[in-house]
Each structure stands twice: as C-alpha cells, then as structure tokens.
Symmetry: C2
Subunit: 197 residues, 2 copies
C-alpha cells in the first residue's frame, strides 16, 4: 500500500534517521503534517533547509553562530582573563542561561573517550592552547561523567604548566533537592566540599 | 544567547509544533541536524516540502494517494461488492498489511464525537452513501473506542435500510496474549463471541 505513495515512504525514512524517532513515530508525524496547512509545513521545511546554511561554528570559540566570530567572542564587555571550557554548544547555553559567568568560552565538541576513539586530537584542544595568552583562569565545565572528568584532568595537566589557574564547577546537591533522594556519590562530594556559612 | 542565532530559534519553534515534541526535544533534534552532513539535512527538508505537494486524498475513497483515483480504487482485482469503512488512512494501511481483505475501502477521516463537535456532516459519509450501488457487504472497521462504536452503530442504521449486510471486525483476545493480562471487557467480549472448533 505505502509503496504507491513514495513521498510518504520517503519522509518516513528521513524522519526515522532522527534520534528517538522510530518508524511508527515518523508515520504519526507524517499524518500530522498532512493534516496541517501547507504554509505551516513549508515553514518547517524552510527552517530545516536554512539551519545548515545559516548556522556555523565560530572560528574562535567553536560555539554556534550566524556571524563569525560569534557575538560572545566580540563582546567587549566580557572578561578576557577567564575562559570557560565546555563539551558542547548546549552546555554553553546552559551556563549563559544561569547568568553566572561573564568571561569567554571555548567549546571542545566532545570529551576524551578512548573506547569511542575520541583522543585529544579529535577535540578543539590545539585551538584552546592558542587562546591562553592573557588568560588567568580556565574554568573547566565539562560534564560530570567519566569522559568529562577525564577531559578535565587532562586539561588541568596541560594548562597548569603555563602558570594558569584551573578550576572546576562545584559538585554538590542540586537546588531544590530532597536530600533523601540524592544519590550517594553526590552526597559524598557535597560533604567533602562543604563550606563555612 | 539563542537570540543571536535566529535560525536555531526558528527551527526549535517549528519542530515544537509537532505532536510529542517539546522545546527540549526540539533543541536536541536541531543539534543533531547541525552535526549531520548538509545533504542529509537537505533531503529531510525536501521530503517535508514535497509531502503536501505530492500526497493528496483520493476523490473516491479519501485515502492517501499520489494519483487520483488511488491505486486501490482503480485496481480491477479488488472486489467491488465488499466495502470496508475506516476512520483514518492509517487504519486502511493496517488492514492492507494484514492481507486479509480484498474489497474496496472508504476513509471517513474521523468518527462521530458530539463533544468534539464531530457530527455526520464532518465525516465523508455523504460520499460513502453514493458508493453503495452494487455493494453487498459493508465491513465497519472504525476504532473500538466510544466514538468508533457510535460511528459503527450510526453507519449500520444508515446502510441496513438499503438491504446491505453490515458487519463489524471481531472483538476478542489479541494474538500472542497472556489471558491473565487481557482486560475484563475484552475477555467478556471474547467469551460472548466464542466459536465452535
């Protein structure tokens, strides 16, 4: 039946390539699109076609941008002496959303993971090293996973040799948590990292 | 931060309109697309743009098709004397997949649901009535929901007056089920509908 409507089969195949979308969800999405006005469907198609054309990686910090260098790299109000290193552009967005950091960023596009074949040469580490002139502190904000921790240690090792301070985001209990439901490892780190009131 | 990359924000907004896709999932999909080759992203955009242009509803049975009338309506091998009525094109696809039916179809595009404002005039019922010439049996395959059942009863009422047999798909235990996990209402119907071996 479906082979008589090739446009349908083709869109199901394309949508199924997206993460978390199987054949059934893809078919449901296609039926949804068929019920929507043509203008809305065209707008979605245009937005997808444009994303790769308009959005690129900043040649300085490797974050997402439509202008190069990106707005954060050229903003004169940001502090050049503090550089925050993250794994992915979405991590940078999370920190910007918190309004807690006013320095510059550097996006590695991954973390060290020998099992996945990710070595230092697969990350934007060489470019990071060329940006350390005048930097006084590198804030390592890689993820709190095994790979993120390994990357943090590797970075600390590389950067400290240059006499630059290397800091790591604090471990601890997430805001609004019920202590009884927080995992042991996190409580352990929170106790270790306790501070004077 | 995100307002400096409008293409990103626009695609997140468009994707969030799809059923089951919230802002976070949409952002995850956009990051995924940004990592894929341009050709793959263009293929997805083109497939979406084409779906509304190429796929239409058959003017005879109201199923999805790229040619009008659809392949099922013009296929000389199908039995004109049996007409199967379904709610949605995907129901037709499910029955075709089972290879258990060789007659013609009619897609209502909904079911009677007074609470949602769906009355007989909102379904393709008038068109169904014009197709009953020469039909000996109408198989009602609307869903087994309250709305689907109401539609089945309404249809039976309308069609029986013309001396045409009206049948309903059998209720019962789904293949491969563990009886202990089947809901009471289904077991009840399966006992009522038991057959000689």
């Amino acid at each position: 039946m479906l082979d008589s409507i090739p446009s349908f089969a083709r869109l199901v195949a394309e949508l199924s390539k997206l993460p978390g979308i199987g054949k059934k969800t893809a078919a449901r999405l296609v039926f949804h699109l068929l019920r929507r006005p043509a203008a809305e469907v065209e707008a979605l198609a245009a937005a997808i076609a444009e994303i790769k054309r308009n959005v690129r990686f900043c040649s300085c910090c490797f974050s997402l941008t439509e202008q190069d260098p990106c707005r954060l790299c050229v903003d004169p109000a940001r502090d050049d002496r503090v550089l925050c290193v993250v794994e992915q552009p979405q991590d940078l967005i999370a920190i910007e959303r918190s309004r807690s950091f006013r320095g510059r960023y550097h996006v590695l596009h991954g973390a060290l993971s020998p099992l996945d074949g990710m070595g230092p040469e697969d990350l934007h580490l060489a470019e990071l090293m060329t940006r350390l002139e005048g930097v006084e502190e590198v804030v390592v904000a890689t993820n709190f996973s095994v790979e993120g921790e390994a990357t943090a240690l590797y970075l600390a090792d590389q950067v400290k040799g240059r006499g630059i301070r290397v800091t790591r985001l604090a471990y601890g209990i997430p805001m609004g948590s019920d202590l009884e439901f927080v995992d042991e490892a996190t409580v352990n780190r929170a106790v270790e990292g306790r501070r004077e009131l």
